[in-house]
Symmetry: C2
Subunit: 213 residues, 2 copies
DNA sequence: GTACTTAGATAGTGCCACTCTCCAACGGAA
DNA sequence: TTCCGTTGGAGAGTGGCACTATCTAAGTAC
């Protein structure tokens, strides 16, 4: 398969594919001559994954490269690769260390993690981007005076736990480690918009039920 | 309070506040003379909300303006304002009408909504951005060959429903309609990163539990 | 052999979220 | 009153990002 066919089958313009090749989001094709290269089905699949991460997952190109690189890092175990890929996922601004709102948020997050008995993230010694993202979001709620009591957060945490179990069940339907790692990345990222849109639909439904006279 | 103090208390640079004023994300201050204006506590609060939507909620400036304008539209009922604000929230690319993946995704989403008995969104005759975002995300999963059976989506939908109930309970602790509408906007947007980061933490935890030897 | 296509490199585009520069008008100190 | 730093407002400029267009030398198809 040549560039033109890869472009046609994926719906991605050739100029954009060239850009992704340059940015190392796609491995180079097999060089046939000095100026021609051949691409296979795995290139097509990878290209579709990249597009999904960028367009559906709203991920910056550089982040997608890091996530994919982490998920293929041969020097890591299967589990470490999954962790590294999730670690590289986009996250908002860092919480400000000197901010009392952030300090309160941090204490509360620690309490929630303790209550959920989630310790893997902490054992690593370093705090993960997801942890810092959580602290920053709760600090914002605190700054605006919106409620975020631990019981309410635990509701969210328990539901997140259920989702994780369902997602990992799906991952375990794949047999080989590389497939599983890719599945974790794809399912983590692509189920995020699913979850957010379902929540918005549910809220519209519920607020209609409560506030519509 | 002058611009400089508003800037200091919010941590937002004066140049950025001026930009937000120009973009009508903040109402103008009360003009004291031809070249001075006075800002109040409500400006500070609004500025913090705007910053949260943009930085924590990763929302484009133009979208934040629309969301806030919808939430304050005097010609709408309380419930319609909430709906209009959630309607304006950022969403990914539109699903492609001629794509068989999208067609299949649409049928499946309709099945899920029917099973959940969520009809408010549909009654409006038009399909909401959240609905289209959901279709686009599922179409992507389908294109990549990842599983998205209705039972699995129903797990997500039921959890989303539980979240919506918990969120609206929080909203009902506010007494006046304007407070409630702002609370819906703030809680919808600011709990999104909370939910996503908790899910990532839960996944890390669960995958450690399953795959770490 | 001639017209079209390709890979790869370089430069350019459009959008966005600020950020800078200016200016006339204040406002407080000397 | 005069000086000087500050303010609100407007317009232009900046840097980052995700492409997108152009160009060239080297194939390939008829």
């Amino acid at each position: 398969m040549r560039l033109a066919e890869l472009s046609e089958r994926s719906g991605v313009p050739t100029a954009t594919i060239k850009y992704y090749l340059r940015e190392r989001l796609l491995p180079p094709g097999e060089r046939i001559t000095a100026t021609q290269a051949e691409y296979g089905e795995e290139h097509l699949r990878r290209l579709r994954l990249v597009r999904s991460l960028i367009q559906v997952g709203r991920m910056p190109v550089a982040t997608a490269r890091e996530v994919l690189a982490a998920s293929e890092d041969e020097s890591l175990s299967q589990n470490a690769r999954m962790g590294a890929a999730i670690w590289a996922l986009p996250h908002g601004p860092e919480p400000d260390e000197d901010d009392p709102h952030a300090a309160r948020a941090r204490a509360q997050v620690d309490a929630v993690l303790r209550r959920m008995d989630w310790s893997h993230g902490q054992e690593l010694g370093d705090t993960s981007p997801a942890y810092r993202m959580l602290v920053a979001a709760i600090a914002s709620l605190d700054r605006l005076g919106y409620p975020h009591d631990t019981e309410h957060l635990l509701v969210h945490a328990r539901l997140a736990g259920e989702l994780a179990v369902a997602d990992l069940d799906l991952v375990e339907t794949y047999d080989t480690p590389p497939e599983r790692v890719e599945a974790v990345v794809a399912l983590t990222v692509l189920y995020e918009p699913v979850l957010l849109s379902l929540r918005r639909l549910a809220q519209t439904e519920e607020s209609g039920r409560r506030f519509e006279k």
